[in-house]
Amino acid sequence: MSMRLYNMVDYIPLWALFAITLIIACLSFEGGFRIGRWRSRQKEHEREVVVRSEVGAMLGMVTFILAVTFWIASAHFDASRQSIINHANIIRTAYLRADLLPEPHRTEIRNLLREYVDIRLEANRSGKLDYAIARSEELHNLLWAQAVAAKDKTSNPIFAGYFIQSLNELIALHTRRLAIRAEFNIPTAIWVVVYVIMTVAVFAIGCHAGLTRARRPLVVTAFVLIISVVVTLIADLDNPRKGSLRVSQETMVDLRKAMNSANH
């Protein structure tokens, strides 16, 4: 349940998110504007000067919240990029070190590692992550069994230990990547706060504009557009597998090619 809530924003296409944010912002401005106008016609109403500083503070808050959320999202994007590199590197290291093990385990381990990379690339294409995770964990077990079997056969246990070291690291990185995928997303709670503060602040701006009894200022359009653009960018950054910002799989593709060419 909580897992599902986590990724609520993930299910909405980015263009729709942009449109929804824009509409919410425009509506809250309009609502605030009408209420402000209505208040200004009453005998006793707020002093404009007081409202002005309150609105200023709220604007500061919106700016700050958006900026910090942007920072979190871009750090998350970088973390998933980093973890792909680490993963590809450790797979390559294990693949090379399999050279140190006796046959038939060497070939067997290399085949398993090739399948391991294939599964990851395939999951990225098709989006069937659950299957890929399950199969990856099976492969970990198979690799481990091969390493243990090789250990007994080899004349030199140092080499087997050496391979096992990289296999352990590979499994640890898999766990780490799962954690990045599941937890580093911006939680729904933060999204709710972002939207609530944005709505309230734009509403307050509307109120303020209404209280002055002036017309709707044109600049509001620019402001509302900027906010919607930034919110969309944050959502785009936050999900590395969707939208225009995808974490490139180039490292894994290169690794797979290198594995084929080193097929001795």
Binding site: E48, R52, V55, G56, L59, G60, V62, T63, F64, L66, A67, F70, W71, S74, D78, R81, I85, A88, N89, R92, T93, L96, R97, D99, L100, N156, I158, F159, Y162, I205, H208, A209, T212, R213, A214, R215, P217, L218, V219, V220, A222, F223, L225, I226, I227, V229, V230, L233, D236, S244, L245, S248, E250, T251, D254, A258, A262
Partner: protein
């Protein structure tokens, strides 16, 4: 990603002038609209506009600052990867001492060529060829290490060498990725320019509303934004601009290795 390729073809000074032009044109457009609307707007509206512009400029400043932070972090990652690589190659070069001949001499020659190829790739800009040749050399190094394993009585030494060889290979991947992919994504550039244009237009509109002449400070502000964007682009490009990463560590290593020919 295509946008990044497009941006890379522009020299940095062109980018700076383009940013400045976008900012000034947006300002001018906003100014023009503000002047025309002045008759129709009441004085009170100006207060609301002022507050909104404060908010927009704040957001713009934050976005620029954070993008700058990301670009600087990528720059550091590239520099660090180069230093680490020089160290790893040096370690492998030293550890080759533990291996029996003829592998020792062979490995040292390969490592010398490896450093030459790396430097050549960075200096000439022919990155693709450098990468391909580097990977060939890695394979040959690995074959040498695997062969010497059979011949040496003490495998602990071979393991030490293999460890540093693995590190060299891993750092190669890291450097390739850091150069190709640790970039500011195209969409962030689009957002930065959108915000800059909208903010500049709003300042212009505000000036137009007040009915005064164009303020000089607006020009300073647009110049400052363009300068920061210029700096971000410079940090973001691995091979061009003032903030190029110096291959000093590799050059030093090359000299040391040459001095050690036996």
């Amino acid at each position: 990603m295509q946008l990044n390729g497009l941006l890379d073809t522009l020299p940095l000074w062109v980018l700076f002038i383009a940013t400045l032009t976008v900012g000034l044109l947006s300002f001018e457009g906003g100014f023009w609209v503000g002047k025309r609307w002045r008759r129709r707007t009441e004085k009170e509206q100006e207060i609301v506009v002022r507050g909104l512009i404060g908010g927009m400029l704040g957001l713009e400043a934050f976005m620029l600052a954070f993008t700058f932070g990301a670009a600087a972090a990528h720059y550091d990652a590239r520099r660090q990867a180069l230093l680490d690589e020089a160290n790893a190659i040096r370690t492998a070069f030293l550890r080759a001492d533990f291996l029996p001949e003829p592998h020792r001499a062979e490995i040292r020659n390969l490592l010398r060529e490896y450093v030459d190829v790396r430097l050549e790739g960075v200096q000439s800009g022919k990155i693709e060829q450098g990468i391909a040749r580097s990977e060939e050399l890695q394979n040959q190094l690995w074959l040498q290490a695997a062969a010497s394993r059979e011949e040496t009585p003490n495998t602990a030494y071979v393991v030490q060498f293999i460890q540093s060889l693995n590190e060299i290979i891993a750092l190669h991947t890291r450097r390739v990725i850091a150069g190709n992919e640790f970039r500011i994504p195209g969409i962030i550039w689009i957002v930065l320019y959108t915000i800059t244009a909208l903010a500049a237009a709003s300042i212009g509109y505000h000036s137009g509303l007040t009915g005064m002449r164009r303020p000089l400070v607006a020009l300073a502000l647009i110049l400052a934004f363009s300068a920061v964007i210029y700096l971000i682009a410079d940090l973001d490009r691995p091979l061009y601009g003032f903030l190029k990463i110096s291959p000093r560590a590799l050059v030093d290593l090359q000299n040391k290795m040459k001095a050690q020919i036996r």
